[in-house]
C-alpha cells in the first residue's frame, strides 16, 4: 500500500483549513484579510467551480481569479486541501524558494489563474477571459473573480463592471468580500453598484455556506452576477 498524497488530499474538510493556514507564518499583517475569504473560497472550490488539479490547463475549465491577492493563506489552504498544491509547501510560505508568496503568482503555482497583489486587476482580467472564452465558442465555463470591499475603491473595477453589465457578459461572476474595510465605505451597499450597471446581485452572510452556495449558483440569464459576502468587520 502506498502513501500517495492523492489518497490523502481528498480527506480534507472545511474544519481542516485553520490547521493548514497555521502551517503558514510570517504574514500576520494580512491575517484578517485572509480569513475573511475562507468560507467563500471553500464553497467555491468545494461545490461550485468545475476545475480540479487534473484540469488546470483544460480550455473548458471554470476560471477563478483571486483579485484580492492580499492575505492569500486561505486561498493556498483551500488549494492544498483540494490537491492543487502539496500541503508540504505551506510551511515555506513567503520563503525565497517557495512558490507561495504573500501575493500569488500564476507562473509559480498550478491552478492559480492570475498573479495579483496590486488591487483592481482581477475584474478587468476576468472580463477579458470571459470574452476570450466566448469568442472561442466556449460558452459553458464560468469566470469568477474575488475582490474585497476596500479593493472596490480602485477605479479599474468600475471600468470593468460598467462594461460587463452593459454588454451582458453572463459567464462573468464576482464575489465581493465585504468586511467593511473601505476607508470611505460604500454608502448604499456594494450590490447596488452592480445592480445599477445591469448585473444580477445578491448580498449574503459570508460565513453561511448554504447561503453562499445558493447565491453562487443562482440563475442570472443574460447578466453577469455578483455575490456580496458580508463578514465581520475588520479588526
Amino acid at each position: 500500500m502506498t502513501t500517495e498524497t492523492s489518497t490523502e488530499i481528498h480527506s480534507y474538510a472545511f474544519q481542516d483549513l485553520p490547521g493548514l493556514m497555521g502551517l503558514m507564518t510570517g504574514d500576520e499583517k494580512h491575517g484578517p484579510a485572509a480569513t475573511s475569504t475562507l468560507d467563500a473560497l471553500w464553497v467555491l472550490y468545494d461545490r461550485v467551480l468545475r476545475v480540479t488539479p487534473d484540469t488546470v490547463d483544460a480550455p473548458d475549465r471554470d476560471r477563478f481569479l483571486l483579485s484580492k491577492g492580499h492575505g492569500p493563506m486561505a486561498y493556498y489552504a483551500v488549494l492544498a486541501a483540494k490537491g492543487f498544491l502539496p500541503v508540504e509547501l505551506l510551511p515555506g510560505f513567503g520563503g525565497y524558494d517557495s512558490p507561495l508568496g504573500h501575493h500569488p503568482d500564476r507562473l509559480l503555482v498550478p491552478g492559480v489563474e492570475i498573479g495579483s497583489g496590486s488591487l483592481g486587476h482581477g475584474l478587468p482580467l476576468a472580463v477579458g477571459s470571459a470574452l476570450g472564452l466566448r469568442a472561442q465558442g466556449l460558452t459553458d465555463p464560468a469566470v469568477w473573480t474575488l475582490i474585497g470591499d476596500a479593493e472596490f475603491d480602485e477605479g479599474s473595477n468600475h471600468e470593468a463592471l460598467a462594461f460587463a453589465g452593459a454588454v451582458g457578459l453572463d459567464r462573468l461572476h464576482v464575489v465581493a468580500i465585504d468586511n467593511s474595510s473601505a476607508t470611505h465605505g460604500w454608502s448604499g451597499g456594494i450590490a447596488a453598484r452592480f445592480e445599477a450597471a445591469g448585473w444580477s446581485a445578491r448580498t449574503v452572510d459570508g460565513r453561511d455556506h448554504q447561503a453562499l452556495f445558493e447565491a453562487f449558483t443562482a440563475p442570472h440569464p443574460g447578466r453577469p452576477h455578483a455575490v456580496v459576502a458580508q463578514v465581520e468587520t475588520k479588526n
Binding site: D105, L125, G128, A135, E159, A162
Partner: protein
Amino acid sequence: METMRERFVTVTAELLEQDPRTAVVLADIGAAGFTEVARRHPDRVVNVGIREQLLIGTAAGLALTGMRPIAHTFASFLVERPFEQVKLDLGHQGVGAVLVSAMGSYDWPAGGRTHMSPGDVALLDTLPGWTVHVPGHADEADALLRHAVADGDSNVYVRLSAHQNAAAQPVEPGRFLTVRHGAGAVVLAVGPMLDAVLAATEGLDVTVLYAASVRPFDRAALRSALGARADVVLVEPYLAGTSNNEAHEALADLPHRVLGLGVPREEHRHYGSMDEHLAAYGLDATGLRARITGFLG
C-alpha cells in the same frame, strides 16, 4: 498618402478574417474603422468605451484564454495611462498582446501635451521582453503589424505615426538597414526620421542606418557599420536619448561617442503643426545637420 493608421485598420480587419485567434480591443478611439468587421466578428472586435485600464486588462484576459489580442489607442492612453496594466496584466501574467499606438510624440501639436507621448518607448524599456517597431511608412507598418501578430505570444509595441517618409524601405523585423554608405560616423534614423536624416547628411561622409524596429536593438548592424571612429548619432521620433544605452552597450568594449537626438524632455507649450514642432525640436533637416556636424566636428 495613405496613413499608417488607415493601413492598420485594413490589415487588422484582414487578420481578423484569417485567424480566429486574433481579436482587436479598442477604447472608442479608432472604433469607427472597425464597424464593418465588427458586424461579422462581434466577439473579436471589442470596444470597451473610454476605459483604458480595462482596454489592457481585457486584452490580457483574452490572452489568458489563448487569444492573440491587438489593442489600439493613442500612445498616451495605451502606454502611459494604463502603464501598471501593461506591466502586470501582460508581462507579469506571462501573456502577450500587440499594442498599436497612434499619435506618438508630436502628431497633433494643436492638441497639446495631453496627446503627446514622447516617453512611451522609454517607459517600455523599463519592462522585460518588449519588441518595439517604429515604422516610417504605411507599407512598413503593414509588414511589421503582420509580423507582430504572428510573433508567437510575445509582447509587441507598434508605434504608428502621421509622420512618414516619402518611400517605404524593405524592412526586416529586428534588423537595421544600411541606406547610405560612408567612411565616417554612423547616423541611425528611426522610423519617420529617415527623410530628414537623409537630407541633413547629404554630402557628409557618414553611413546612414535605418531602424523600423528598435527593440531588440540590432547591435551587430551598428557595430558592422562603424567607420574609422566609433561615432554614433541616434535620431529618434520620441524622447531624445531613448536608445543611447543600447548604443553604449553595443559599443561597450570600444572607445566611442554617442549623440542622442529626439524629442526634448521639456514640455513645449506651443500648438501649431507637426512641421513647426519638428523644427522647434531641431529634428528638421536644418536642425539635424547643424547638430550632427557640430558633434562630428
